[in-house]
Amino acid sequence: MARLNIVRPGMLTTVQDIGRYGQGHLGVPQQGALDPYALRWALRLAGAGRGDAALEITLLGPVIEVQGACFAALAGAELGAQLNGVPWRTGTSQRLRPGDLLTFRAPAEGLRAYLAFRGGVAGDLVLGSRATDLQSGIGGHHGRALRAGDVLEVGDGQGEPAAAPVPTAILRESLRVLPGPRDDLFPEGALRQLTSAPYRVTPEADRVGMRLVGPEVPGAPGDIPSEGIPLGGIEILPSGQPIVLLQGRGSVGGYPVLATVISADVPALAQLRPGSRLRFEVASLAAARLAREEMERSLALPLHPLP
């Protein structure tokens, strides 16, 4: 094993994997990387396993001192990473040596990046996943965000530096949704209102969900008997304002879901900073499936070797 010394933790850096699935009947949230597309690129570039954990880095990155040789990849947002002062472009992998210093300067675009290692990042395995659940305080590194002085174990496997053939962060402000599952509880025109004009991401945006502000959706029916909430579900609060639910959401919720962001656009949600604009557009189920197939194809493209 190699080690990482966390000199500064950054704004919010957590250990995440693809998610804690299959525990919703126990009330256990899914968690996992908010941008599964970028996580999967990071794992693939690093030569890690699909179920391995990586570091999820939010906007302002950490300062990390590397102890021991290892092989790492960055994917997702361009947050100004530098290795020993030399820019490290997102979507690429490279060999790290003992004493290397990883820093992050001004974030350029997007919100979340993933740092993966060949052999994974060690973390507490809870109900089959290493994902950190900040609300429950379990999984990952002692169930919490990284702090200065933390030491993390990572794999020390080696690999050949490479670049992803496509951007590893999906940046789009137009998000496709499928109506429902509870659109029939709203008056006609509610969905039209949701898709009529842009919304803005408020500062109340975290791993659970993003509160939006924009056109008020009329006729929100208020509480309904609690039921399972899909990833990307758009709940309408009694105020008429939407909240988009992410991987950290509770397994069940009591506000009706008017529409659900398609799985191919969930990664784009994770890259929207507070204050940014977005708009929703209705897609067909066929279009949603096609978009997802395209995403899977792009994730399977050959890597470009780097000198």
């Binding site: 699935y21 809870v126 039921e227 399972g228 997802r292």
Partner: protein, 257 residues
């Protein structure tokens, strides 16, 4: 769901008791079993959830029962969503190997530090605090589902006289074991979390523990009844639980070494 996917209803067939299937994004289907808060509707939903979970269909990664529905989530990177309704249909009407529902008697120390909102609930409902306790502990509740936080049993229906909206200012920290009410529901906070329900008491019972073979002690379909206890009995039970947990941990440690 005939509205948006003509084939769905037909493909699944009529073997199941669900009344509707709703699309929940491209990676989710919401199976509905009726309306309202109804033990029969809920029992059907839970039986279906057990059946789907037991079938371990590749690509299905979540089966979450709610009050009147079941959300089935899947990974379209691993399973063709068009095959899924057929796979669910193949399960037929077969009931899952049933887990017998259990009845839990939950000891609760009401009021005081343990239930800081009891007085407020009493004045808001126009009842004496004793009367609130008598009503809350005077009946059994069905556990309709778990949610809100890990292992949190959502129980209903609360006696009509006790129904209040949630607190206008949610607490950022609710102590573990807090017994609370809101609307027509009552429940137990299994872990220290934020929360907006009215806290009327606290239980020393361990409702949820990570790492325990059965993390959730109370499961959907169970019934619970609350038993008022004094502070002394509360502490005795809490001490016994702590000892039992330490013993269990030591046994685990012993197995490793």
């Amino acid at each position: 769901m005939t509205r948006r996917d003509g084939g769905l209803e037909t493909a699944i067939g009529s073997g199941h008791a669900f009344t509707r299937v709703l699309q929940a994004g491209d990676e989710g289907l919401l199976f509905e079993f009726g309306a309202g808060i109804d033990p029969i509707v809920n029992a059907r939903a839970q039986a279906f959830a057990e059946t789907v979970r037991a079938a371990r269909i590749p690509g299905v990664r979540g089966v979450t029962p709610g009050y009147l529905s079941v959300l089935v989530e899947f990974d379209t990177g691993q399973v063709d969503a068009r095959d899924l309704p057929g796979a669910l249909a193949a399960l037929g009407g077969a009931a899952a190997p049933g887990r017998p529902a259990r009845r839990h008697a939950i000891p609760v120390c009401y009021g005081g530090e343990m239930g800081p909102d009891l007085e407020e609930v009493a004045s808001a409902t126009g009842l004496a605090p004793d009367e609130v306790v008598r009503l809350h502990a005077g009946q059994e509740y069905r556990v309709y589902c778990l949610g809100f936080s890990p292992g949190f049993p959502l129980c209903a229906p609360l006696p009509a006289a006790l129904r209040l909206p949630r607190r206008s200012q949610p607490r950022t920290r609710v102590p573990q074991g807090s017994v609370a009410i809101a609307g027509l529901q009552t429940g137990i906070y299994p872990l220290e979390t934020a929360g907006g329900w009215h806290l009327i008491g606290r239980t020393p019972a361990s409702v949820f523990a990570w790492g325990r073979p059965n993390a959730a002690a109370i499961l959907p379909g169970d019934t619970i009844a609350f038993r008022p206890v004094g502070e002394e009995e509360y502490r005795e039970i809490a001490d016994r639980a702590a000892i039992a947990e330490t013993l269990a941990r030591n046994l685990e440690g012993g197995a490793d070494g």
